[in-house]
């Protein structure tokens, strides 16, 4: 049997707008999430409640659990002295209850196990923890210049710094220069379903229902910590209520749940993270500050570009947001420098949040572009068109189908951009300033190796398709069946798809906008191999398993998705309140596999971008060290009333260099550039240039008349 690489597949089911196959279960409440599983094995669980640190840095001197243990229903209180020992403590985020060190406020310092959630919570309230607190540095402002360092690499494996040409000389010789400091606050992913797990240890296998974006990654990460073989961990995630990156990597609560289960062998343990605890324990987008300098010809063509990004990370585990990477490939220009520096703080561990890097980085770059357009007197759409590179500036490789200009032009036409007055403060409608803005969007085409799919012939012409992928609400369960149907050349109705379980073949994370493309490639490869092995009329029971280690067609090309976001905002002339009345996103993402679910991804991305533009801000108290806007009443995400006219469009295309389906990814690009488009529109409306998110009402009070 020779293993072949997946080949492009003619589309039949792919491209059809089909409803979510699990929509009915979800809206009727039948879908079971991580804390809702009840069967013989998981019935009658103990409930775990986390006690978290109230200092930002120091040591736990003593955990007094006597009052908690005296409470009826409380069974056990675990702390760093009596918790099961981890086999590995290399990852300090995940080394739960292994020593007395406190690295951030909100870290787990004890775990109460009780017969009811109420008793567990009350028990946690009664645990008294004594600390030896040490001085802590918790904000970028408090970090000294010497505290900033160059990480070895930044998130997603990007180089920390990249320099081409002579930026200083390019800037010095440029006819037009713009320069600005742009910032985005820390933001929390805030999925609807809080992080939760139900775990049971039977002495040889740990079974865990988890709210995760990657069941196999949870097993692979937790096994060495728990001193188990990966095969001793079974992780299931049949339904997940959103992740936005916060469930992409395992976090401390999952370790806590697993440890607790191992401490009470035979008894299931259920752990649900509260919304407040999510603000310390499940990752977040760190604050970013970008210094952008652009030098250009009088017509707006960029000569030199610098994007210097700084940010914070946690002292106990490094995460460096790749804020400046989009500036490496977005626009033409001979001289370019992009750098990243981070300061290690005594704060919770940051992690992935939808479009890490691109979201904050493109806010900075795309507002700077708007400022350049203004400085040159060039239309913002034209400016971007003028700065199209021939080849990818970062690698020198040719692009495969870079269609940013088409997105901008189609969007401009659909949005009515041609009628836009050039100058700000040009439109007043009653009590409101009105303005429009544009920004580009981009997201790299990632493809993750190592996905395995199994195809099984069943009775009556049905096919079982198994892969340990996770549908975190995106529609993966629906689109993978479409991909499998085309790859096997059968109807979608003949496919029985199984996902979300480490007992199924290994799959990579639902993240990086790469899930569908990477899993789908494995399914196509396995299906094609299955047909090669077993023909068109296979005997029931035969099966083929295929692993996609590479998809080499992409080698030597720069693969990115692109888009253009247009925004119309109204700013109240008396109160400064800003409302986004129209948002349009036009995207180039390769083949759209399911227009219904893809549209939801784009819309959700735009809404999350709007939310980040106007509201989202995790306010860290500089004295205490934790985020004080730690619930959804004080950490605002967009409400229904904030979302008005939303439109999404995409180019009809296929990209077979990216995947055999012709698709790239759709999960993240919608959030990219959206905040910049809104900020640019707010400037057009009022003349007020805001370079720091979010754009709150107080920034637009008493707008001065333009000179």
């Amino acid at each position: 049997m020779t293993v072949q690489q997946a080949r492009p597949v003619p589309n039949r089911a792919v491209g059809i707008a089909s409803e979510r196959v699990d929509g009915r279960e979800k809206v009727t409440g039948l879908a079971t999430y991580a804390a809702e599983h009840r069967d013989l094995q998981l019935d009658d669980p103990l409930h775990a409640w986390m006690v978290t640190s109230t200092i930002a840095r120091g040591r736990v001197l003593r955990v007094d659990a006597s009052a908690a243990l005296a409470l009826p229903g409380v069974e056990r209180v675990l702390d760093h002295e009596n918790a099961p020992r981890a086999a590995s403590t290399d990852d300090r985020e995940l080394a739960v209850l292994q020593d007395d060190r406190v690295g951030f406020r909100g870290q787990i310092v004890a775990l109460v196990l009780a017969e009811t959630p109420e008793a567990a919570r009350e028990g946690a309230r009664l645990v008294s923890v004594h600390y030896d607190a040490e001085p802590a540095t918790v904000t970028l402002d408090a970090a000294g210049e010497d505290d900033f360092y160059a990480p070895e690499q930044v998130n997603a494996g990007h180089e920390t710094d990249l320099e081409q040409g002579d930026v200083e000389a390019g800037l010095a010789g440029a006819a037009v220069r713009v320069e600005g400091r742009y910032s985005t606050p820390a933001e929390h992913n805030s999925p609807m379903e809080p992080h939760a797990a139900t775990a049971r240890w039977d002495g040889s296998v740990l079974t865990m229902y988890d709210s995760t974006q990657a069941v196999h990654a949870v097993a692979a990460t937790l096994a060495p910590i728990l001193g188990l073989e990966q095969s001793q961990l079974r992780v299931l995630a049949p339904y997940v209520g959103g992740g936005f990156g916060s469930k992409g990597l395992p976090h401390a609560p999952e370790v806590a749940a697993a440890m607790a289960a191992m401490a009470v062998e035979g008894r299931p343990v259920k752990l649900v993270v509260t919304r407040q605890q999510m603000f310390a324990l499940t990752g977040y987008r760190p604050e970013t500050i970008s210094h952008v300098r652009i030098g250009a010809e009088p017509d707006g063509r960029i000569v030199a570009l610098e994007h210097a990004a700084i940010g914070g990370t946690s002292r106990i585990k490094e995460y460096a947001e790749q804020t400046a990477t989009a500036a490496r490939m977005m626009y033409a220009g001979e001289h370019r420098r992009t750098t990243h520096r981070v300061a290690a703080l005594d704060v919770a561990v940051p992690s992935w949040m939808r479009a890490p890097g691109e979201m904050p980085g493109m806010f900075a770059l795309e507002v700077a572009l708007d400022e350049l357009a203004e400085a040159c007197g060039v239309d913002p759409v034209d400016l971007r068109v003028r700065n199209e590179p021939e080849l990818d500036p970062e690698t020198g490789n040719p692009y495969n189908d870079r269609r940013l200009v088409e997105c901008l032009q189609r969007g401009a036409e659909r949005f009515g951009w041609a009628d836009r007055p050039t100058s700000p403060q040009a439109i007043v409608d009653g009590d409101w300033w009105v303005g429009t803005g544009v920004a580009s969007a981009t997201y790299p085409t990632l493809w993750m190796p190592g996905n395995t799919a199994r195809i099984t012939a069943d009775e009556d012409g049905r096919y079982g398709v198994a892969i340990g992928a996770v549908d975190i609400g995106t529609g993966a369960r629906t689109v993978l069946a479409q991909i499998a149907a085309d790859a096997l050349d059968v109807d979608v109705a003949s496919i029985d798809l199984a996902i979300g379980d480490t007992d199924l073949p290994a799959a990579t994370v639902a993240g990086g906008s790469a899930g569908t493309g990477s899993w789908g490639t494995a399914i196509v490869q396995a299906a094609q191999q299955f047909r090669a092995d077993h023909g068109d009329t296979p005997d029931p029971g035969v099966q083929t398993t295929g692993t996609a280690e590479s998809y080499p067609d992409s080698v030597g090309h720069a693969l990115h998705s692109f888009g253009a976001t247009f925004a119309e905002v109204r700013v109240h002339r008396w109160t400064g309140e800003l409302r986004v009345t129209r948002l349009l996103g036009v995207y180039s993402v390769g083949r759209v596999i399911n227009p219904t679910t893809a549209r939801s991804q784009f819309l959700g991305g735009l809404i999350m971008g709007l939310s980040g533009a106007l509201f989202e801000e995790s306010v860290r108290d500089s004295r205490f060290g934790h985020v004080v806007t730690q619930d959804l009443a004080t950490y605002h995400v967009a409400s229904h009333a904030d979302v008005r006219g939303l439109e999404v469009d995409w180019l009809d295309e296929e990209d077979h260099l990216a995947t055999p389906m012709g698709s790239r990814g759709v999960g993240e690009i919608g959030i990219v550039g959206t905040a910049a488009a809104i900020a640019n529109a707010a400037h057009h409306a009022t003349g007020v240039r805001v370079r720091d998110l979010p754009l709150t009402a107080d920034l637009f009070l008493d707008v001065p008349p333009l000179p």
Partner: protein, 337 residues
């Protein structure tokens, strides 16, 4: 959550007696704020006395025209009440500006007035808060201050009262009817909530065990009919006010015959802008005059870096709210301004 006893008396006097006799007993209304406090560990009562099903859920017009609103009238029902909508529009608009549809369906009139600040430090038992734990200190001072008070705050507390309804009731001179062990008493809205002073732990002038049984609005008038509520917030719904304005305006030609202005989001209580009203009453209406009157009221304001925006914001919002009322007045009378 701590274990507690739940009782549901069928008579208001029994409920009052039950709470009056026990310092660790609390009334439970719609539960939209209190239940959060139980979960967060802010409150650990031994007894909850559920008053939400007492038959105090009607809106009735008394012989003298007073509109009596039973304490258990739900926010949604009160907002939709035809008399309230037509004769006291500020009340309807304030209610609809608050919370979410689900919460308004559950929340009661009395409970709305008795909800507590959403100051992030008050709601976080791991940080000092004089309101939650007298003498522990105020974490909001020197901390996150975007929602902090600018008027009437003290060194002990800079929290704001979160209710929208209370601001409208303050503007309209409502009276809160309270039942205590010694019988009923009537408390004008202006005396119902208090400033923090040295005792921020106490939000109102109610004694422990006193139960709000109804709220009375004065007979409708040209002034109550020409009332409005304007709430300013970053998020278009489901957000507490940055600032808010309840206003009523009666013009005689260009002259201000009567005016009411109350502010939300600026103080520990609904802030009746009496000095601003006094400055406007009998004077010729103009936007400039309204701004000047607001400035006068704000002369004593104290701000920090996070909440200094509230001064221009409440001034502008006041000018905006009164301008809307003046325009409507002009439309009715055909006057031109």
């Amino acid at each position: 959550m701590k274990e507690l006893t739940y009782v549901r008396p069928t008579d208001a006097r029994d409920a009052v007696a039950r709470v009056s006799d026990d310092p660790h007993a609390r009334f439970l209304g719609g539960g939209t704020n209190l239940v959060d406090h139980l979960k967060l560990g802010l409150l650990t009562p031994d007894v909850l006395v559920d008053v939400s099903r007492l038959p105090l859920d009607e809106v009735t017009r008394l012989d003298d025209g007073t509109l009596r609103i039973g304490t258990n009238v739900r926010n949604s029902d009160l907002a939709a009440h035809p008399v309230v909508r037509s004769s006291y529009p500020a009340v309807t608009r304030a209610l609809l500006a608050g919370a979410s549809g689900q919460i308004r369906n559950q929340a009661t009139t009395g409970g709305n007035l008795l909800q507590r600040t959403r100051c992030v430090y008050f709601q976080d038992v791991t940080t000092p808060c004089n309101k939650r734990e007298p003498g522990s200190g105020c974490s909001a001072i020197g901390g996150y201050g975007r929602y902090d008070a600018v008027l009437g705050a003290s060194e002990a507390c800079v929290a704001t009262h979160p209710s929208d309804l209370a601001v409208a009731l303050a503007a309209l001179d409502a009276v809160v009817v309270v039942l205590g062990r010694d019988g009923e008493r009537r408390v004008p809205m202006s005396d119902f909530h208090r400033l923090p002073g040295h005792h921020p732990e106490t939000d109102t002038t109610l004694a422990h065990g006193e139960l709000v049984t109804s709220v009375e609005l004065p007979p409708e008038s040209a002034l109550t009919r020409a009332s409005d509520y304007r709430k300013v917030r970053d998020r278009a719904s489901y957000a507490f006010a940055l600032v808010s304005v309840a206003a009523a305006l009666e013009l005689d030609g260009d002259v201000v015959r009567d005016v009411r202005i109350a502010w939300g989001g600026v103080a520990h209580r609904p802030w009746r802008a009496a000095a601003a009203e006094e400055a406007l009453r009998g004077e010729t209406y103009s936007e400039e005059a309204v701004r000047a009157a607001a400035e006068l009221e704000l002369a004593a304001a104290v701000t920090g870096p996070d909440n200094a925006y509230k001064i221009p914001m409440v001034r502008n919002a006041t000018a905006y709210a009164l301008r809307g009322l003046a325009d409507r007045s002009s439309e009715r009378t055909g006057a031109t301004r």
